[in-house]
């Protein structure tokens, strides 16, 4: 049962991020006050190294058969699925840190703790994507949650930030209570908490025992599954568990909101897919309709709320709920699972790029702070700052899902999965929701390009290099994923196949 040193080798990206967090913390303790600026850069190093390792591992597998390793005795699974999601988390974290370099200084946030907690949050996400067992999943979920609760409330100067983290904390702890009760009931019904074994070696897994003992009608198991879905649906901000999103996203510091909207959502969906497609795949007929309903609700309510917003940051918050709905459509396409899982991973990556990019522009226009986030502040931005307006235009169009952009391809693959699983109703709702989203995304573009602004009201924007780099990286990623998606798509498809056990 104990793991050999070679097995630990498979955990290098996670260990690098963990050691990075410890290094940032130690540096913060022994650095003189003035030299705290270097901490942001130090935080980027482990993220870059981990991303390099993950991409190299994915590249090595792209040609031949995909390798799949069980670590710590089937508690963790190192497979292209977890590597794919690691790319999403690390990209979100790198962009998040780039966004916060100037912000942390300007708002005098505690730099050491800020970057250490960001790295711990990424560590939690990566472990969540890898865990094939409920207790490991729960503790990684808690590491991520605690780190993000504190990050949401770290701007102690602002009352709204403290309230945001209180609301987020109370609802989060409430949801993790449900998650734990779900785990207890599933453990009670089956006697094990290991979700599934892709290599098909051990029979005592939840998916195996459901078949073996015919636990289809077992009340404990169904109640446990329902509670697990509630617990994870809260973290993915799926309606009706989305109450916390607008206030927390608006209250939390901007770089934390960007990192949260991309990373935490992707981690929740990574765990959700492994839980449903891996552990409870034999109960597909039970949870698939529930997901169908939740997907419709999330898309409709998310878009409906986003339309009414005049504040761009709050509009992005509500629209992130809608994007969770699009991801849910892919999960609901259970019968076409080999395509569906790939589309979840691909969309998570595209949403990270365009979402965090949009938040970066919010920082650029807001002079690295929380200033001028109202729609009117973007009036005539194109004439004054063409580059910033062009980048924001690209992100808005991609978020809306216009052809030739990454957002369009992401939605296209989800639609493809939904249609192959003959969920035509859901596909129509997704189409309509996207059309609705065109309105509030393109309204920003309209304000930037079509409306003129008197010379007097010209506001300077931030020229910070770190923000420039973040915007450039996000824009390049969106264009790359939009124009030649073949490599990213191949990884997504490979991830899809390996999540499902062999001969399945």
């Amino acid at each position: 049962m104990t793991t050999t040193w070679r097995e630990l080798g498979y955990l290098t990206p996670e260990l690098v991020v963990l050691l990075g967090a410890a290094a940032v913390l130690l540096l913060d303790l022994f650095l003189p006050r003035g030299r705290r600026r270097v901490l942001g850069g130090v935080a980027l190093v482990p993220l870059g190294v981990a991303l390099g390792w993950v991409l190299r591992a994915l590249w090595a597998q792209s040609g031949g058969p995909s390798q799949l390793h069980k670590v710590f005795g089937a508690l963790l699974l190192r497979d292209p699925y977890s590597l794919g999601f690691d790319v999403v988390f690390l990209v979100a974290a790198i962009l998040g840190v780039l966004l916060s370099l100037r912000y942390v200084e300007r708002e005098a946030l505690p730099a050491g703790e800020y970057y250490a907690l960001t790295l711990f949050a990424v560590f939690g996400m990566m472990m969540m994507a890898m865990s094939a067992e409920l207790i490991t999943l729960f503790i990684s979920y808690e590491i991520l949650s605690l780190a993000v609760y504190v990050l949401a409330g770290i701007a102690r100067g602002r009352a709204v930030s403290a309230e945001a983290s209180l609301k987020y904390f109370l609802l989060g702890a409430f949801a993790s209570g449900f998650l734990v009760y779900g785990i207890a009931l599933v453990y009670g019904a089956t006697g094990t908490t290991v979700l599934y074994d892709p290599l098909g070696q051990s029979a005592s897994t939840i998916s195996g025992l459901i078949l073996e003992r015919g636990l289809f009608g077992n009340a404990l198991l169904l109640a446990g599954l329902a509670l697990l879905v509630v617990g994870i649906a809260f973290k993915a901000a799926i309606v009706p568990f989305h109450a916390w999103v607008p206030d927390v996203y608006e209250g939390a510091p901007l770089p934390v909101t960007a990192f949260m909207s991309a990373g935490v959502k992707a981690a929740a969906f990574a765990a959700f897919a492994r839980l449903l497609f891996g552990g409870f795949r034999n109960l597909g007929e039970v949870w698939q309709p529930v997901l169908w309903v939740l997907a419709v609700l999330t898309m409709v309510l998310g878009n409906a709320a986003a339309i009414r917003q005049q504040n761009v940051k709050r509009m992005l918050a509500y629209s992130s709920i809608a994007h969770a709905g699009y991801l849910l459509v892919a999960l609901a396409a259970y019968t076409a699972r080999d395509v569906a899982i790939g589309s979840v991973l691909y969309y998570a990556l595209t949403y990270t790029a365009m979402g965090v990019g949009a938040f970066a522009i919010l920082l650029v226009v807001g002079q690295e702070g929380e200033a001028n986030q109202e729609l009117s502040d973007y009036r005539g931005l194109a004439s004054r700052h063409p580059w910033a307006a062009a980048a924001m235009g690209l992100f808005m169009i991609s978020l809306a899902g216009f052809p030739l952009t990454a957002g369009f391809l992401g939605k296209f693959y989800i639609l493809n999965a939904a249609l192959r699983a003959d969920l035509d109703g859901l596909a129509v709702v997704l189409g309509l929701a996207s059309v609705v989203s065109w309105y509030y995304y393109l309204r920003v573009v309209w304000f930037m390009y079509m409306t003129e602004v008197p010379k007097a009201a010209v506001r300077p924007i931030s020229r910070a290099t770190s923000l420039g780099v973040a915007v450039a990286v996000a824009a390049l990623l969106v264009i790359a994923l939009g124009v030649f998606p073949s490599t990213a798509l191949a990884v997504a498809q490979m991830a899809g196949h390996t999540l499902l056990p062999l001969g399945y």
Binding site: A22, L25, L26, L29
Partner: protein, 119 residues
């Protein structure tokens, strides 16, 4: 299995019983005339000023959380201590070393950030 704990239950019942009966008997015996001065909270004869519940300082809270977190650490290390002698060869040692090492980082952090200072 519960028979071993019967003495503890007995002692608990006796202790609580003894205390309650004493209070009950004394309230029965004495003659009670409740005048305003007699029912006022006793503060060495001087008149009580303001509410009896004063506001605590944050430093009590910080020490209390450090106590909880290291208390949980000790509890988790308890099974390890029981088993390390016989069973867990090297892996047990490395495991506990990593566990304590990570929390040592936390202790160092608390120390350097002055959380333990009691000014």
């Amino acid at each position: 299995m519960l028979k071993e704990y019967f003495p503890i239950l007995l002692m608990l019942v006796l202790a609580i019983g003894f205390g309650v009966t004493m209070i009950f008997l004394s309230s029965l015996a004495g003659r009670k005339t409740a005048t305003a001065t007699k029912t006022a909270p006793y503060e060495c004869g001087s008149l009580p000023v303001g509410s009896a519940r004063l506001r605590f300082d944050v430093k009590f809270y910080v020490v209390a959380i450090l106590f909880i977190l290291f208390d949980v650490e000790a509890v988790l290390l308890w099974p390890w201590a029981v088993l390390q002698a016989q069973q867990l060869k090297l892996t047990g040692l490395v495991e506990a070393a990593v566990f304590v090492g990570i929390l040592l980082l936390g202790y160092l952090y608390a120390l350097r950030k002055g959380a333990l200072e009691w000014e």
